[in-house]
Assembly symmetry: C2
Homo-oligomer: 352 residues x 2
């Protein structure tokens, strides 16, 4: 009687209808739980029974439905990663490193790109929370993460990378942007520059603000004034960066003439700046934040302040899983050093 409710599917596999443990149990002539035991390698099953179950499994093409398992167990064995753009050469290795850590812990990675849009970040994060990911790694775009508080206190471990969380206390793994920028500018100053421009990312982004602070600190420590026209923050789209670079290099509207050196705030900006400088007669010094592939083969090779994106990702992943394993300490902030790699472009003297 009950059979009429659902089409028979005990022995035949039909399109879109997958066999369940119940089907396997029926076919093997055992109980439901015994199938579960075999599938999960639990003890207490006779070799003979196990064999019968295995046969039924392969015959039916059974594969455990993890959705049901997840619902029952409460753990999803997956973590979410939300970042600005998966395709950015800085974030791609970071993402890969998080994936490796997840894999080592048997978890899958679900990721989403926020496109530097706070609202989209929020949507993504909440969608991941609804799926009950065990943990979240976030490179935040938004400027208010209080929306995450209920989720975190409900048990979703959360680690921020590259930039800290806004308006909440949470774990964060960061690079020392301030010191990196300061060293970069000091390097230019040491090579004789006095008019140095800084082209950075949107000012609301923490790293951009920190790097600007580092720039100002280095200038101040050297007793150099900073003309307002030497600082340009904004989106990293090439047109805007190009315009700002050209303006600074022309020295229009700036007090003491055009800049003789540039500090660029991230790899996207650096690449555009390299293009601008390549079109110039005179040689302008350049120090770029973030190392990038082939930087050493350009003419001149590009001096950079290198971060280690893969290490950022790895640390974030490790911190996340430590949390998941129950470490209930206060939120921690890990700061990784940057490394100045002189290659040539930063050692060009003024007006050469």
């Amino acid at each position: 009687m009950a059979d009429t409710a659902r089409p028979a599917r005990t022995s035949q596999r039909r399109y879109g209808l997958r066999p369940t443990m119940k089907d396997v149990a029926a076919r093997a002539g055992v109980g439901l739980k015994t199938v579960s035991r075999v599938v999960n390698g639990e003890p207490g099953v006779t070799p003979d029974t196990e064999r019968r179950v295995q046969e039924a499994i392969t015959a039916l093409g059974f594969r455990r439905n993890d959705s049901a398992r997840i619902l029952r167990k409460g753990r999803t064995a997956s973590i979410g990663l939300v970042l600005e753009d998966l395709a950015d050469p800085f974030y791609a290795p970071l993402s890969r490193a998080v994936e490796e850590v997840a894999r080592a812990h048997g978890a899958l990675l679900i990721n989403g790109s926020s496109a530097e849009d706070g609202e989209r970040e929020r949507e993504l994060v909440l969608a991941l929370c609804a799926r009950r990911v065990d943990g979240l790694v976030i490179i935040p775009a938004g400027d208010d993460h209080r929306y995450l508080e209920p989720e975190i206190s409900a048990g979703i471990a959360t680690v921020f990378v590259d930039r800290p969380a806004a308006r909440i206390e949470a774990d964060a793994v960061l690079s020392d942007s301030f010191t990196g920028a300061r060293e970069g500018v000091a390097h230019l100053i040491a090579h004789g520059h006095r008019r140095i421009g800084f082209i950075g990312d949107l000012p609301r982004i923490h790293t951009a603000a920190e790097r600007l602070r580092g720039y100002r600190a280095a200038m101040e420590e050297a007793g150099l004034p900073v003309d307002g026209s030497w600082v340009a923050l904004g989106p990293t789209d090439p047109a805007r960066v190009r315009a700002d670079a050209e303006r600074m290099l022309a020295g229009r509207g700036s007090a003491g003439g055009p800049v003789t050196a540039l500090l660029t705030g991230n790899n996207r900006v650096t690449v555009t700046a390299v293009r601008v400088l390549a079109g110039l007669e005179r040689r302008v010094a350049l120090v770029g934040f973030d190392d990038f592939e082939l930087a050493d083969l350009l003419t001149p090779p590009v001096t950079v302040i290198a971060q280690e994106p893969a290490l950022l990702g790895r640390r974030a992943g490790e911190l996340l899983f430590r949390r998941l394993e129950g470490a209930g300490e206060a939120p921690r902030r890990v700061v990784l050093p940057t490394r100045l790699i002189p290659r040539g472009s930063g050692e060009i003297p003024p007006y050469s």
Copy 2:
């Protein structure tokens, strides 16, 4: 009585215990299904009732558990992407494009890197199948995908990208590697080269084999012999590529002397080749498969056979969702053209 079975949690939120619709219903004084209706924006709820439910939802910090929803509905609204390495500059934009398509269809993307290991690919894919992703986009590493047959016939839509599936019929979105390589080599021949080397990826990888075929075709069409030492296939790790490049350029063991031009089989190989050539006195012509950032700013600028990774990803995603929407046509193979971009390195004459 039943209450003793489970700790009371109707009104208080406790760490790790999330409120359910039942809790919301109890608090709002309505039935379970009414909460479900409100949460899903289904019609048939009085504004007043809706308000009460909404209040309960915010008061308790309720968020729907998508695991349960997925189990019930049978659709996960997520697709899986398995590729070689998320951090590879060729695959990163491809992945991003797939993500965009998924997003447009309200789906999340779960991805995993196979590290060019067939077994790891299989594990990943099956893990994704166990999660009942709605569809899969695969850049295959393995050489036998029959293990996917039961999954596909059980309804998991599958699209292969960049390389076709092995031993099964399945949708695939590819670049025209053969024609690309042939044009690249023809370009070098047109500039006077007769001894041209090819450094490619592992021969079991479809694109590597196709590009080799294109190389041979072009040589043959020009009536040029191919010395065995001019072809080197293998893993893309820099040391091996460097060794092969140096061997070809030295011309040890080759019939007619060292090669005067190189065709490189993908962006990883090209980058290493560029480094090798940069250390040389004489100038060697180079055409590289895959465009890469800054190729135009190197000295000399690098001539490439460009693919469009983002387009590959987008097409694959679109094809996948068309399948999911029920198009039951035969498996289709989409082949995208490549584009030769002359920039300088490919136009260097022999012995310059």
